[in-house]
């Protein structure tokens, strides 16, 4: 069977890259980038995940059908995350829509009888 066998050096290189990127994630978290802290963290995590999927999970060497199957998963995950967030974040007066947290000493007014 003509199954692709990756060299050990490739696996070690991917492992090294994943470890370095983990360090970069922690380091980046300590730099104040404003809203870009989150973007940076997710970008790095996404890149790490791609390395794992492509090389460790051998998707690079699989058929187009398998690649399409993997892409389908990402597509639906994007819909799940993206559309849910678009809904919540794009509402009018977003912060006003937020359920207001109450303290333990909060008094809930009973409904007034007619």
């Amino acid at each position: 069977m003509s199954d692709h066998v990756s060299p050990v050096s490739l696996y070690l290189a991917i492992f090294g890259a994943l470890m370095v990127l983990t360090g970069v994630t922690v380091g980046a978290a300590y730099v104040d980038l404003g809203p870009f802290n989150f973007a940076a963290a997710m970008l790095i995590a996404g890149f790490k995940a791609s390395l794992v999927v492509w090389y460790f999970m051998h998707v690079k060497y699989q058929s187009h059908l398998t690649k399409l199957t993997v892409a389908t998963g990402l597509f639906f995950l994007t819909i799940l995350l993206g559309m849910s967030l678009i809904d919540y974040v794009s509402r009018d007066d977003f912060s006003g829509q937020r359920p207001q947290p109450v303290g333990p000493d909060a008094v809930i007014e009973p409904a007034r009888p007619h």
Binding site: S6, A45, V52, T66, G103
Partner: protein, 256 residues
């Protein structure tokens, strides 16, 4: 009659076939590809399974960012980072186990699988230490949850240096301590649900590998047939990927 013909034909063709080849596949390659696609379809359901929790996390994080930032500082980057390294290491050993199976190396297939299981257990052990710390500090959501306990404990001369640093205000918070008491519980509920579900997957993964290691030990695999090793590898790498996202989302919301 056609059954008999098919059966005779099957019997005739069988001699040249690998013993692991099921009769409804033409070649080992075709059989393996079907198994790999099947595994990926299962992983897609897993992606969306975790995806629902990620959506819940995202919405509550946007709503109560300050609570998430404050609560996230209660987690230890040391343990989280160590576990990330351990899990990435276990992904490497898993990939090497699959490679050993591909190259007909029975001894190292077993060795790498055992090492992968050990690293998985190290991860779970570290998780136990982290969970224990959360119980000790009343940070488990429920009736005994006490957001202020940790700070009071640290102020009273406790040894939690990270907690002490977190107690000093970084900026004006939009939530009062009483509100933090409620909203940080949402963070910890998600923390325990997501890491708990992840840990459950790890336990299942170690269980799977026990079976696969035994099969490898008994010499069930060769360069032609190692599908169970490959599929366990896909599962293990998937669990690794979930953690790759959980680590920054739970431990690194806002640092220092």
């Amino acid at each position: 009659m056609s059954d008999a013909v098919a059966h005779a034909d099957h019997g005739h063709a069988h001699a040249a076939h690998h013993p692991a080849l099921q009769h409804h596949f033409d070649t080992m390659r075709q059989q393996k590809e079907a198994a790999v696609i099947g595994m990926w379809l299962f992983l897609l359901t897993e992606i969306l399974f975790f995806g629902g929790l990620f959506v819940a996390y995202m919405i509550y994080r946007v709503w109560y960012f300050d609570a998430f930032a404050e609560a996230s500082r209660r987690l230890s980057i040391f343990w989280g980072g160590l576990n990330t390294a351990v899990l990435i290491g276990s992904s490497l050993t898993m990939a090497l186990a699959v490679r050993a199976a591909q190259t007909n190396n029975r001894k190292w297939t077993v060795n790498w699988l055992v090492l992968t299981m050990l690293l998985g257990c190290v991860f779970l052990g570290a998780k136990v230490i982290e969970y224990e710390d959360k119980f000790a500090n009343y940070e488990v959501p429920g009736s005994s949850y006490n957001w202020l306990y940790h700070e009071q404990h640290a102020a009273a001369g406790g040894d939690h240096s990270e907690a002490g640093a977190a107690a000093e205000g970084h900026r004006e918070l939009s939530l009062t301590p009483a509100q933090l008491q409620n909203t940080t519980q949402i963070y910890f509920s998600l923390y325990f649900t997501m890491t708990g579900l992840h840990a459950l997957h790890m336990i299942i993964g170690v269980g799977l590998m026990l079976v696969i290691t035994r099969m490898a030990w008994k010499g069930k695999f060769d360069a032609e047939y190692f599908t169970p090793v490959e599929l366990s590898g896909l599962y293990w790498h998937f669990v690794d990927i979930v953690w790759i996202f959980l680590f920054p989302l739970l431990y690194l919301v806002e640092r220092p």
